[in-house]
Symmetry: C2
Subunit: 352 residues, 2 copies
DNA sequence: CAACTTTTGGCAAAGGGTTGCCACCCCAAC
DNA sequence: GTTGGGGTGGCAACCCTTTGCCAAAAGTTG
């Protein structure tokens, strides 16, 4: 039993490729040497390094990221959670995030939390072990839960402000004020706000900004909804607005606004002749819908980039170039297109 | 030196949460028992199981997926590669894929290959170790490379047909024929095809379908381009079409078509009065652009779902419900909206 | 009460790398 | 010739979990 020491190597058909020890065997060095040759260039002699690299190439060796991450703790992956992957707003977030992550050598893991705090929490419990850091877009979590998660895993919140959690928010307040001023200057006296999801933090902020701006300018503002942030829901929102007698409406987001445009056209309400519509976000499509949508242009993709930068900083992999603050505020501006116009001349009473 | 056997446990500050051995220590059993209590319910006594579960809860233990996957070989993650994450077409693919993957308990890893076969290949070399399977949307790889990759990792190609590789393709041929017939019936005699990226497999197929259908119906078809599949490129495409004297144009995709719509409006060319425009895909926005786009409606999201189903089957995790074939063909249909109309009366020569 | 079967739980070996520590070699300096 | 030092490479522990195998405990049967 001279060779009894050799254990049963091929326990299961190894589906994966060659391992580090295959490479080591092939060029007659220890696995540790191979590891070092591949990851710490100065640590071995040039001759050895070349032998190892050659052997690795011949075998087509690729290090196993799972094994590597087990020890190093790093996965080179960041997770992006959002309430609804179906919403074009988040497409731009994905874009910005993916671009910046890829540039830093990170992969992106996508999760749809289905507009539910509970689903979000469930994923959040599993993910920290699978990724290096997280970006939570429009999180539905409570402040307490959010802070708790943030304390145990590097995390950046997007469009969800909370003290103590690194945050980038697209500040619709500026834009909302601009929008209200725009409408006021066009002679509108009564405007409606078509609200988004109740759980949305941005929704609350947006309404507050509209309300105070309207008040300051002597306009009457009413809040409608909540509506789901979808094109379909635009029909209900449009009908609700017509009912209020407002001559202008500011929608929670462009999807809702575009849906309203469709419904208003269907009902023969002229936009902007009889009703002015303002969207929010300036998503893909806002410029070529009919009429082209006046909207608050939000730097969504940039928000994704900035959030990723901040996360990378947190992970110590930042470019260093840009030292971000804990709370990054990105301003919006009003883009005036064709869906807003002068208020219609007041009619004493609507025809029955 | 009685306790000399105990090694230095806390070599590095353990950033991650409690491990299985913490749980084991807490309730006085071996790690193997904890593992079994948590994953093989019948394997330990109910009393033990409860003790373990209680301890795990108290500690907030979450198994480390990396360690788990190292042994099991499974990551419960699938990778989705696409040439350009910026293209709304792929948004729908992402949607369908994410939905189906999530339903089966899989996470989604997103990769943008930047329209480059080389970038794609580079990612492809690293990924197999990090995911269980791959979906390649509109792969730019050569047939040989594609087959080679497919032989070493479970893979489904989307909109990229190759023998020997499981594939789901959205077959624009049917729709293209319908579109040409539609245009022919409206009296058009000459039509242009605004081509997409040269490396795109679908582009070749689409042109061929248009060309043969046109030929059969006695229409004259010219091919323009290639153009990048973007709204911006639509301007150049529109100008090129005007030059040919064609009265109708079929665009490689909706982005291009929508861009053409904008440029044509800018140049005062009436759509559909003077020029009919047909898009392809029916992406978000095709129904509310102006005029609403006549287009080949492609079941993009469903393609993503089917591709995911097929991959899951390959991984042995399929629902079993739906046995897919190796090559799945999804038909398109023409959706007629407002961007197509009767051919204009022929004018002897354009006014100078 | 002995012999046998079934539970139940523990030991230890993977799985594929990384890394602290040590041994060794070669060369220069004393 | 001995000592010291820098450069290389190997050993083995470690990361966390799963799982084959075995032994002890418990239960069953004659």
């Amino acid at each position: 039993m001279r060779d009894g020491g050799s254990p049963h190597k091929t326990r299961k058909a190894r589906r994966a490729g060659p391992t580090i020890s295959d490479v080591a065997a092939r060029c007659g060095v220890a696995v540790s040497t191979v590891s070092r040759a591949l990851t710490m260039p100065g640590r071995v002699s040039e001759a050895t390094r070349q032998r190892v690299v050659a052997a690795a190439d011949e075998l087509g060796y690729q290090p196993n990221p799972r094994a590597r991450s087990l020890l190093s703790g790093r996965t080179d992956t960041i997770g992006l959670l959002m309430p609804d992957i179906t919403n074009p707003f988040f497409f731009d977030v994905i874009r910005g995030t993916q671009a910046q992550a890829a540039a830093a050598g990170y992969s992106l893991m996508l999760v749809d939390t289905e507009e539910s705090a509970e689903v979000e929490a469930r994923h959040l419990a599993r993910m920290p072990k699978a990724v290096d850091g997280l970006i939570l877009a429009a999180s539905r979590l409570s402040d307490a839960d959010l802070e708790q998660v943030a304390s145990s895993v590097p995390l950046v919140a997007l469009n969800r402000g909370t003290r103590g959690v690194p945050t980038v928010v697209i500040d619709s307040a500026d834009g909302a004020v601009q929008a209200v001023e725009h409408l006021a200057s066009l002679g509108h006296r009564k405007l409606a706000y078509a609200a988004g999801p109740a759980g949305s933090w941005s929704n609350g902020r947006r309404w507050r900004a509209v309300y105070t701006a309207a008040r300051r300018l002597g306009l009457h503002a009413v809040r409608l909804g909540p509506f789901p942030p979808t094109v379909r829901a635009g029909a209900a929102a449009a009908d609700a607005v017509i009912n209020t007698g407002a001559s202008a409406v500011l929608a929670f987001n462009d999807l809702l606004a575009i849906g309203m445009l469709g419904r208003l056209a269907e009902r023969g309400v002229d936009v902007p002749g009889e009703m002015s519509v303002v969207g929010c976000d300036d998503i893909f499509g806002a410029d070529f819908c009919h009429p082209a949508l006046t909207t608050l242009t939000a730097p969504i993709e940039r928000a994704g980039r900035v959030a990723t930068d901040m996360l990378l900083d947190l992970l110590g992999r930042g470019t260093g170039r840009s030292a971000h603050r804990e709370q990054e505020l990105l301003a919006t501006t009003l883009t005036v297109r064709e869906s807003t116009g002068p208020a219609p001349a007041p009619t004493p009473a609507p025809a029955p």
